[in-house]
Every structure is written in C-alpha cells, then in structure tokens.
C-alpha cells in the first residue's frame, strides 16, 4: 500500500513538472511582452529595457525556467508581475472563496442528484422518469455563465432577494452555489440512475425484496452503496476541478476565488500568476487522483490493487 502511494505521488510530481514546462513555454510564445504589461502602454524603450534587465526577463528561457523550478521547490512561486503580490499568498487568500462555492455546488449535486437518481431508477421508464430525464439534459447543457447571469439578473437585480455580486457575507454565496449546483445536478442524477438500474437487476436485490424488506430500505441501504462507487470517483475528480478554480461562476458573481485570479492573470499577461494558478489547478487534480486511487479499494472490497 505504501509503495502504491509513493508511486502515485511520484507520478503526480512528474505530471506537475510536465505541466510547468508546457505552461512556461506557452506563455512565452504568446506575442506579447510581459515587461510592457508591467510598465504600461506608454513607457518608452529605455524604460522597458531597464525593467527587463531588472526583472531578469532578458535571461535565456531555460535559465528563467531553472530559476522558477529552484524557487518552486522551496515553496516560492514568485511574485505577480503586476501587483508584486507573492503568487503563493494570492492563491492562499483566494482559495477560501473557491472552496466555499465549490462545497455549495457539491452539496447540491449530492443532496439533490443522488435521491433523484435513485427514485428515477426505481420508477424507470414512467412519465416521471422521462420528465426528469429531459430536465437533466437541460441542466447538463446549460452554460454556467448564461445561467449565472440569468439568476443574477432575475433574483438579485430585479427581485432584490440576493446581493448582485461580490463576497461580503454568506448570502453572497447562495446564487453562485445554486448556479454551480444546477449545471451539475442533472449529470449526477443520470449517473446514479444508470448505476442503480444495473445494481437493481442483481440477485441480492431480488433476494432482499423476496425477504419482504421495505422498498426504501432495499433502495437506499442495499442498492445505493454499490451504485455509488463509480459516482465517488467522478465526484472526486470533479471536486478537484472545482477547487482549481470555478472560473465562470466566480467571474459572473465577482467572487475573489482562484478562478477569477487565473482569468485576471491571463488578461493581464501576468506570467508568474498564470503559471502559478495553472500549477495549482493541476496540483488539485493530481491530489484528487491520488486520493481516489487510494480510497477505492477501501470503498469497494472487490478491487484489490497490486498483488492479484
């Protein structure tokens, strides 16, 4: 088991290194000058040259990358070119907002998606199931930025039930969480639905029903845990993607999260911040994969890693 984890972590580190190389190269082939970004559009050539030297952006690319990796290993991802804020500090201060809205969205996926999936599986092919299927498809197809704007316009701007944007109190998290919840809940409902259908055909379910157990007990106690195993994998990876930055939702609702930080970094060509936010998102995905891989055998005894 320990060897397994070590191996996974090794792969994870390699993935991050690869990501850093790709991102580093990508931001340097873009035909825009980071020094110009720093100095503004009206600085003259002499100022730009002086700043380029001072920021050590006149070194060859491999040297800049080497310096970056050296510092990153010591936990320093550099400073924002625009604001001079240390990248690590920016990530740390932005993460709570992303975490809060992600948890809100995840809660809706789990608390609404799972029951809907179970019930539609039980009443499969009825008009009820068909209706929910259509609604799920709508939910899956809704673009986040569109739904966010609509909810914001109707419920906050016109209705005045919620604040429009920003993050001052927990009330500011409701609309973003609901937005995120709605666009994901349909997918989880369908996922649980199809897994439940498979499980419900199994002999042990038939046996449970034959023993005369109440249907709710059969569904939620006997069938659901087995149907949830693949769901957990997907949920883990989705959660990781969210924690790397909920880009659209954060942008629409002006939440100070990692996603909006990344967007701003790209728009302003803030190279250290672009690299930092991308690596952070990659690290989240790598971590989630390691965790899911490690947890999997614990949840599902049928899966044994390694020796068999």
């Amino acid at each position: 088991m320990t060897r397994q984890i070590a191996l996974r972590l090794g792969w994870g580190a390699l993935t991050l290194l690869g990501t850093s190389v790709i991102v580093f190269l990508l931001v340097h082939v873009v035909p825009a000058d980071p020094v110009r970004t720093y100095a503004g559009p009206q600085a003259d050539k002499e100022t730009l040259d002086r700043l380029r030297h001072e920021l050590r952006l006149d070194d060859p690319l491999w040297m800049q990358y080497g310096r970056f990796v050296g510092r990153a290993l010591r936990g320093d991802l550099g400073q924002s070119l625009i604001t001079r804020q240390p990248v690590i500090e920016a990530l740390r201060t932005r993460f709570p907002a992303t975490l809060a809205v992600s948890l809100g969205g995840l809660a809706i996926w789990v608390l609404a998606g799972i029951p809907i999936g179970v019930v539609t599986a039980r009443y499969r092919d009825t008009p009820f199931d068909r209706t929910v299927l259509v609604l799920s498809m709508v939910s899956i197809s809704l673009p986040t930025f569109w739904l966010g704007r609509i909810l914001q316009f109707e419920l906050a701007y016109r209705g005045g039930h919620f604040p429009v944007a920003g993050l001052v109190s927990w009330r500011h998290l409701i609309l973003p969480s609901v937005t995120l919840g709605i666009v994901g809940v349909g997918y989880y409902a369908r996922l649980v639905h199809s897994n439940m259908i498979e499980v419900l055909t199994q002999d042990y379910i038939r046996a449970a029903r034959a023993r005369g157990l109440p249907e709710a007990l059969v569904l939620f106690k006997h069938a659901l845990p087995n149907a949830l195993i693949p769901v957990i994998t997907v949920l883990g990876r989705d959660a990781a993607a969210l924690l790397g930055g909920v880009v659209f939702t954060e942008t629409v609702f002006a939440l100070p999260g990692v996603g909006s930080l990344a967007v701003q970094a790209v728009l302003s060509m803030d190279v250290p911040m672009i690299v930092g936010t991308t690596l952070f998102a990659a690290a989240m995905v790598v971590a989630a994969n390691v965790i899911v891989d490690v947890l999997y055998p614990l949840i599902d005894p049928r899966i044994k890693t390694g020796r068999q």
Partner: protein, 565 residues
C-alpha cells in the same frame, strides 16, 4: 497612461456608512462644509496595480494612489498648475535649468513625521533607482546626474547578483547631483536641459513624497502599506476582494476630507457594477457600460446624475510612413478624406468628439483654427488616383479585440475605406499583442491606436509620438514611424524654450505640419461618462485626474438615501 478601456471599470462597494455627525434636514448647498461624513462605495474590475506611487501607472490606480500620496504641485479645477505640498509655485532660474521649491510647513505623513525637503530627494531617487522598477523613471531622466546614477545602480544590481549578496550602493555616484536639499524646507532641482514640462512632472503621482522609513520597514510590500501625506490612509486591502480607506486625521487641509472613508469593491465586470449601482449598492459608477448607455441617457431618473468629461486622449489610425502605400503623402491624405468621423462617433453612441488634429481640446496649446480634413470621398479617390492607386489597394487593419468599441470603430472605418476602393481586412489581436506589433519597425502598415496624456502639455503627444529622431527598432512610441526633420527641429527648439507662450506657438506650428503630412488619420477624443447616486454631492470630473474624492460627501438627508439597501 494606461487606457481606460483596457481595464475598464465601474466604481463603488458594500461598506457600512459610519454613524457620523447628523446633518440638519433640507437640501444642502453644494460646497457647504456642514456636509460631511459617510463612506463612499466604489467598484473596480480588478485589483489596482499598486498603491506605491513609484509603480502605479494607470487610470484606475491614480485616483486611489492620490487618496494617500501627494506631490509638490497639483492642478486647479482645470489644467492650471497650483501649489500642492509646495507653499507656492517654484522659482525658476534664468537659464530655465534650476527649480527651487519651498515646502509647506507642518505637513505630516500619516505616521506622524513632518514632511521635509529631503523626502523629495529620497522619493525621486527612489523612482530613478532601477531596483524600484518604476515605469515612471523616464520622466526624471532629465534631472542632472540622473543617468549616471541609474547606471551606477544597475551596476550595483549586477554585482549583487554575481556575489549573491544584498544590493547596496557601491558604485559612485551614489546620489543624483541635481537633487539638492537647500534647507529643511527648500528643495532645488537642476535639470540637464531646460524643460517647462518638469512642472507637470512634479505634479504626477510619481513625484509623490514617500517617507524613507516606510520603505525601509515594508520594502517592496510598500504597495500595500502606504504612508503618505494625503487625505486618506489605507485601512484594509484584501487582495482581489476589497480596499478600505479611512480619513487621515493628520491631513493638513482643515475640514478635508469630507468623507469618513472610501470602500472599493474589487471584481465584477461593468455589467455587474451597473446592476449593483442601480440596486443602490454603489455610490458612483466610473464608466457606464456601452450596452446600458442609451437606456441610462433616456431615463429621467438617471440622466441628471450622469457626468461627462472629455478624456485627454486621441484615437488615431497610425499610417506607417515607412511602408507602402503610406510612404506617399497623397495616400495618407486620401485616408483622412475617406473616413467619416461623424459616423464613427455615432457608432459609439456619440461618446466622444471628432479629432481635428493630434491634441485633445483640453490641452494647453490646442488650436481651434487648425486646417484639417473634412469627409470628402471624391477628393480621396482623386488623391489615390494621383498616387497611382486608381483601383485602390488591400491592407490589414490591426485592432485590439478585447474591447468591443474598438472593433466597432474599425468596422465603420472599413466600410468608409471600401467606398474609395481600399480593402481593409480587420486583424483583431489582444491589446498586448497590438502594442508589441505596432512598436516594431516596418511591421504594421495600418493600426487603430490611441494615446492618453501623462500630463497636460503638448510635448506629451507631439514629442513622444511624432519625433523622427526618436524612432527605434522595437517598442517605438512613434507608431506611424513619421519622420520630418523640420518637425524634429521645431520640437527640439520648443523643448528648450522657457517662454510658455512662445513655446505653445511652436507646438501649434508643429501640429499643423503634422496634420498636413497626415501620418495619422485623426479620429476622435473619447468622452468619459460616470453615474452617481442622488445623495453623492459635489461630484465633478477632472480633466487630468478624472476623479478627486476628497471634496465629495454623502447627503443623508436626500430622499433617496433611505431606499439604499
């Protein structure tokens, strides 16, 4: 200055209004000093770059930097220089090279220490020191000994890197010889060459007084721990979330500021800010978003609360004089005749005025009698035929893609050019890419560009953008690569001239020559529209600073005040 549209923003936030003093009911007269108190709520789209006056260099940072920091000189309601931290305007030596400033006495930094002449010596040296990485260092390069000082500091930087030690001032000169503290309250600045714009430079935020002890304490984190002499101090800056300023109890102007504080929400686009403003969550919106503009201007509730001010900016098409077909002056003139600028303005809902030449109308030396081009497509066709382009030509038109407005302007231009047989293909690129491409020699034939004033003086346009002897291979500000030795000569003369009136006359002569040579299509000067709540009093836009917050106040006796969320 960074263009408004680049980081376009709205203003204002969700801070609680402090329970300040109560006002007697009834409408307060504008300017009445009984009206005070309250926290102004603004919003900006992204974190401002910095509150360090040596670093910040954009339209959105400056009004906030100026909450905390001040310079020796300032402007009145218009573009006339007035004393700021100086007691009066400086005396200038007969040769125009030395400026002597007397400081106001009893001004204190927010840390309690008194402001002295040495603070300005330190602050300007700090801007010049490459280690500070100030984008404004160029403005002070004309100080005597500045370049030698900069080269020495750069050498120190390289030495420190080689030795792997902390940078110190090893190499001489360790001081800028032109910056002198005569006595505790007297500063003398010597220039390499006479230059009247030095007064404007001394009014820029780059020339603010920064206390040495604050830099020593905070290092390059000074940007979020500002210590200045201004009307406010920074109370909190949660990056990417909000900034809060509060009244500086030590501020030297009695009765100012009238606000208890300023709260700036960070984040959200202009559409979000517009919604927040209309819900009463913001007191002031910096820029009415284009999609809402017609609605707001037609709404009797909001229209009286709109303020507008001409931005000292010129939008132009740069015609690269080194690349065909624009090497021929007839083609360049034809371009000017071919484009209907009035219609371009209509496309952007009339948010601007037509440009006659290079200089914006708010600029000293603006010439209302300039001979310029009218919309005359027949004349354009004739000129093209004379130049041998009877059948027209095709040319890519470079334009920034990130603001819809620029693309709309470019599309209108494209249609007008098609009328005279010129086929312009829009090449939309990111702003950063556009700047890079247009600054490269012999690279872009035709591009939509603009320039905003750093300070109100014609040299800031004519010298910076149109001097042939300043053309460089990359990062060239002369995007038309226009070179006319006669113009260069006049500009050199004007730069040295210390007679303000005669100097402006030379600039007018230069501008006329430039208009005749037509290296640009002179398009428009944009208007800036803000929207404020009925309870926000004494709001006025400023031709240099856009916004000045110290005189604003919130009228809590206003009928609308009670409807705020």
């Amino acid at each position: 200055m960074r263009s408004g549209a680049a980081l376009s923003l709205g203003l204002a936030v969700l801070a609680l209004v402090a329970p300040g003093c109560r006002r007697p009911s009834g409408p307060a007269a504008a300017g009445s000093d009984s009206g005070r108190g309250g926290v102004l709520r603004l919003a900006v789209q992204t974190d401002i770059q910095s509150l360090d006056p040596a670093i910040a260099y954009d339209t959105f940072s400056w009004p906030l930097v100026r909450l905390v920091y001040q310079s020796l000189l300032d402007y009145d309601e218009g573009t006339t220089l007035v004393p700021g931290l100086a007691e009066r305007l400086p005396s200038i030596s007969a040769d125009g090279r030395a400026y002597t400033f007397r400081l106001r006495r009893g001004v204190r930094f927010s840390n309690g220490r008194e402001l002295v002449a040495r603070d300005f010596v330190y602050s300007i040296e700090r801007v010049l020191d490459p280690q500070t990485r100030s984008p404004g260092e160029g403005f002070f390069r004309n100080t005597r000994g500045a370049r030698a000082f900069q080269e020495a500091r750069q050498k120190d930087g390289d030495l420190a890197r080689e030795r792997g030690v902390t940078r110190e001032r090893w190499t001489s000169p360790t001081r800028v010889v032109g910056l002198q503290e005569i006595d505790r309250y007297t500063l003398r600045v010597e220039l390499e060459a006479p230059d009247l714009t030095f007064l404007n430079i001394m009014a820029m935020p780059f020339a603010s007084a920064v206390p040495r002890e604050a830099v020593a304490a905070y290092g390059d984190q000074l940007y979020c721990h500002p210590v200045g002499t201004g009307p406010f101090t920074l109370k909190e800056w949660r990056r990417g979330t909000r900034m809060r300023f509060r009244r500086n109890a030590r501020y030297y102007v009695r009765g100012q500021p009238r606000l208890d504080g300023v709260a700036v929400m960070v984040g959200g686009d202009s559409v979000v800010h517009q919604m927040m403003f209309e819900r009463g969550e913001l007191d002031l919106e910096w820029e009415i978003p284009l999609p809402d503009f017609v609605r707001i201007m037609g709404d009797p509730k909001w229209k009286p609360l709109v303020d507008s001010e001409l931005i000292a900016r010129t939008a132009y098409l740069a015609l690269n004089c080194e690349l065909k077909p624009f090497t021929d002056v007839r083609v360049r003139r034809a371009m000017n005749y071919a484009i209907n600028k009035e219609r371009v303005l209509q496309i952007i809902n009339g948010r601007g005025v037509v440009a006659r030449g290079v200089l914006p109308p708010t600029m000293p030396g603006y010439d209302p009698h300039l001979r310029t081009y009218s919309y005359d497509p027949a004349r354009a066709k004739q000129l093209l035929a004379e130049a041998g382009y009877r059948g027209g030509f095709a040319v890519p038109l470079w334009v920034r893609a990130d603001t819809g407005q620029e693309v709309r302007i470019a599309e209108a231009i494209q249609q007008d050019l098609a009328e005279v047989g010129i086929k312009a293909d829009l090449k939309t690129v990111a702003f950063a890419t556009l700047i890079d491409a247009m600054g490269r020699r012999k690279n872009v034939q035709l591009g939509l560009f603009g320039w905003s004033q750093d300070y109100p003086d014609p040299s800031n346009f004519l010298d910076v953008l149109l001097r042939g002897d300043r053309i460089v291979e990359v990062n060239c500000n002369n995007a038309a690569f226009y070179s006319n030795p006669q113009v260069d000569d006049l500009l050199r003369r004007a730069a040295r001239d210390t007679d303000a009136k005669r100097r402006l006359g030379i600039y007018q002569q230069v501008e006329q020559t430039v208009v005749d040579d037509a290296p640009w299509v002179f398009l428009l000067h944009p208007l800036h529209f803000t929207l404020h709540q009925p309870w926000l009093r004494d709001h006025r836009l400023h031709p240099v600073w856009s916004e000045r917050y110290e005189g604003l106040w919130l009228d809590r006796s206003d009928a609308a005040w009670r409807r705020r969320p």
